[in-house]
């Protein structure tokens, strides 16, 4: 009897609630989910293998396309790995510019996350606001790098070019515009009673489980662990700027979205400090001719804090002009497969998208 009551539902890839080419197959009984299996394979492009056939510099247009939402942390982690293998120093000013770009990218990604979450709950007003503010920052990126989403701005040895004239004022203006809307966001979204009802105690995960299943980023910080690569293993100039790592205790969807909100405010503080402390000088240390650039034999593992969690890169060189092996440790892999499937069990159908978005699953980076 119970066999006949089971129903197989497909959440994605053709689903209005799905962001990106990702699908979850649900086995449901009534409104309760018995089993969920995630399939990220719709977006497999074989980037890690492709990168073994291209020179060190040619890989940049590849590496940023692994993650659509926040490409800059991808560029950063690859540039850091190449610099570490080749032994290139980065000028001080370039480090500050890198930090500014990374934090702006974090803002873009978090605003995109707010859009996705609000949109998922049918709350289009806040979704449209967040999208509008994201667009303002994309305009800044367009001026700085010439591109809106895939910038290819961070480079081995520094950044491609110096900040344009008057860029600082434009950034501060935009940040001021967004910052002045924080009370609106708070009263409409983060403190909304119905949103609280919807997100509280949804997708709850304990601290031990989060650690065991490899959670990082907001998911781990929402359980009360102060885990942030920017503090543990500072890169760029994160050891020279002052910022907090927001944490919460409950480990549910509501805590995660509040951490996103608090992190956005911290990002703004970091950007302000970087502009104040930034020295003058070069932004680029010359690298050898890219077509003949051979990097000495060796292997390295570097990691950065992306907007969704710990992003790592294992890079091996065998002395050739191309990488020997590239492997990314992307935060969405444990979040989108292991933790998502676990949290969806016994949830209701109405909460599938809710839980998925609160875990910040970015489909393209799961199956590179």
């Amino acid at each position: 009897m119970s066999q006949e009551r089971e129903l197989e539902l497909y959440f994605g890839p053709q689903h209005l609630g799905m962001v990106g080419n990702f699908s979850i197959t649900l086995k449901v009984e009534g409104d309760k989910i018995l089993e969920a299996s995630a399939n990220p394979g719709w977006l497999h492009r074989g980037f890690e293998k492709l990168m073994e056939y291209r020179t060190w510099i040619q890989n940049f247009p590849m590496v940023c396309r692994i993650n659509v939402v926040e490409p800059d942390s991808m560029e950063m982690v690859y540039a850091m790995a190449v610099e570490k293998l080749a032994g290139i120093e980065v000028p001080e000013r370039a480090n500050y510019i890198r930090t500014i770009v990374l934090e702006l990218a974090r803002l873009v990604s978090h605003l995109f996350g707010c859009w996705a979450y609000a949109n998922m709950l049918g709350f289009d007003t806040v979704a449209q606001w967040a999208m509008y503010h994201r667009d303002l920052i994309l305009d800044l990126f367009e001026e700085l790098t010439g591109a809106r989403v895939y910038h290819i701005y961070i480079w081995p040895g520094g950044v491609r070019r110096d900040l344009p004239e008057g860029f600082k004022d434009k950034v501060l203006n935009t940040l001021h515009t967004i910052g002045s809307c924080i009370p609106d966001y708070d009263s409409a979204f983060f403190n909304n009673r119905l949103f609280y009802e919807r997100a509280k105690n949804i997708g709850k995960i304990t601290r031990e489980e989060a650690k065991r299943l490899g959670a990082t980023g907001q998911i781990l910080r929402a359980t009360g662990v102060k885990y942030d690569i920017r503090k543990i293993e500072p890169y760029a100039v994160y050891d020279r700027v002052d910022f907090e790592v927001p944490t919460r205790e409950d480990g549910d969807a509501y805590s995660r979205i509040w951490i996103v909100r608090d992190e956005m405010i911290q990002s703004v503080h970091i950007i302000m400090q970087c502009f104040e402390k930034m020295p003058r000088g070069e932004v680029y240390n010359k690298v050898p001719n890219p077509f003949k650039w051979r990097i000495p034999e060796g292997e390295t593992y570097v990691r950065v804090e992306s907007s969704r969690g710990e992003l790592g890169l294992y890079l091996v060189s065998n002395g050739e002009d191309k990488p020997y092996r590239v492997h990314f440790r992307t935060p969405s892999y444990p979040h989108g497969l292991v933790i998502l499937e676990k949290l969806l069990k016994n949830a209701s159908i109405a909460d599938v998208g809710n839980i998925m978005i609160s875990l910040y699953v970015t489909a393209p980076e799961i199956d590179r």
Binding site: L16, G17, F123, D124, T125, L194, R198, S348, A350
Partner: protein
């Protein structure tokens, strides 16, 4: 012969189908434009809803292979007839209160369920699992909001001790609006307003049609003219239900002198309130909606009802 012609005319043109449809689609534009302004967008031009409707009328109707075809195709018309009749009776009673008959308020209450019922029937007949999920959600939602809604609508009836819409309107013409003069009616008005939000399946109660969860639910398999009819029915209800509330609680719609302007303003205020609630809240889950209506709205409606019995 003349009488039949007049009755047909009033059903099809004014104040029946055509009038309600045109004003409803226009109200739909106000909803869209206001929503766009709240969301910092520009919004569509005033004729957008009309061309949307005619575009859908010209599209192909796709029948799903495992649908019950007759039920699937006729369900939209059940809803359309229900919405038309609701509007027709309400306007008749508003314009000519003397023609009111005993128990017409019950007739309107029952007919106003027809559009939701049509969605359930059509969704269940389409043979899509997501549509049946949406239909079951719609059923639960009707169970949730219908009880407080009926209690709230009957509060003025108990107060006046007459079950005719016409006499409620006449009473208000003589004694002023119900909800500003009597506490019981104010409470009932608030309850009825929130129930109306659910009746229109607007956020936070758009649970049966949640796009991001079950992809428009019962309407998922509909295309072309049947979908256009469903959209039209929804637009007509956006006009008819606020008029129902105005008739019962806010003095009715009158069209002599300055009262004309006043009637239009009353409708616009309620419409704007609906749109504001719709745009400042996320969607609830069905169990939360059920709990909200039964544990919060129903006791509130009962309090209003008891106050009306006492005569406050």
């Amino acid at each position: 012969m003349d009488n039949i012609f007049l009755a047909l005319l009033s059903f099809l043109v004014f104040p029946g189908f055509l009038f309600t449809a045109v004003v409803g689609l226009f109200a739909g534009w106000i909803d869209r434009k206001l929503t766009a302004r709240i969301q910092w967008r520009v919004g569509p031009p005033w004729y957008q809803n009309f061309i949307d409707f005619f575009k859908l009328m010209g599209k192909e109707t796709i029948l799903p292979a495992n649908a019950r075809k007759m039920t699937f195709l006729f369900a939209p018309f059940i809803g359309l007839i229900g919405a038309t009749l609701v509007s027709l009776i309400l306007w008749q009673m508003n314009l000519y209160p003397a023609t009111s008959f005993l128990g017409d308020i019950i007739v309107v209450l029952y007919l106003s369920i027809l559009p939701s019922l049509a969605v359930i029937i059509g969704g269940s007949a389409s043979g899509n699992p997501l549509a049946s999920l949406g239909a079951s959600r719609e059923m639960k939602l009707i169970l949730a909001y219908e009880l407080p809604f009926i209690v709230a609508i009957f509060t003025p009836v108990v107060f006046i001790k007459d079950i005719r819409i016409g006499s409620i309107v006449t009473y208000q013409i003589n004694n002023g609006m119900m909800f500003t003069h009597h506490l019981s009616s104010l409470i009932a008005f608030i309850v009825a307003f929130i129930c109306m939000q659910a009746k229109l399946t607007f956020v936070p109660f758009d649970i049966p049609e949640a796009e991001q969860e079950i992809m428009a639910g019962p309407l998922i398999e509909y295309s072309g003219p049947p979908l256009a009819i469903f959209k039209l029915t929804k637009a007509m209800m956006l006009f008819a239900l606020p008029v129902f509330l105005i008739t019962i609680f806010a003095g009715g719609m009158r069209f002599n002198g300055i009262q004309t302007l006043f009637s239009i303003i009353k409708y616009l205020v309620i419409l704007i309130l609906i749109v504001l609630v719709k745009n400042t809240n996320p969607r609830l889950r069905i169990d939360q909606a059920l709990r909200f209506f039964w544990l919060r709205m129903f006791p509130l409606a009962i309090i209003g009802f008891i106050l009306a019995l006492i005569g406050i």
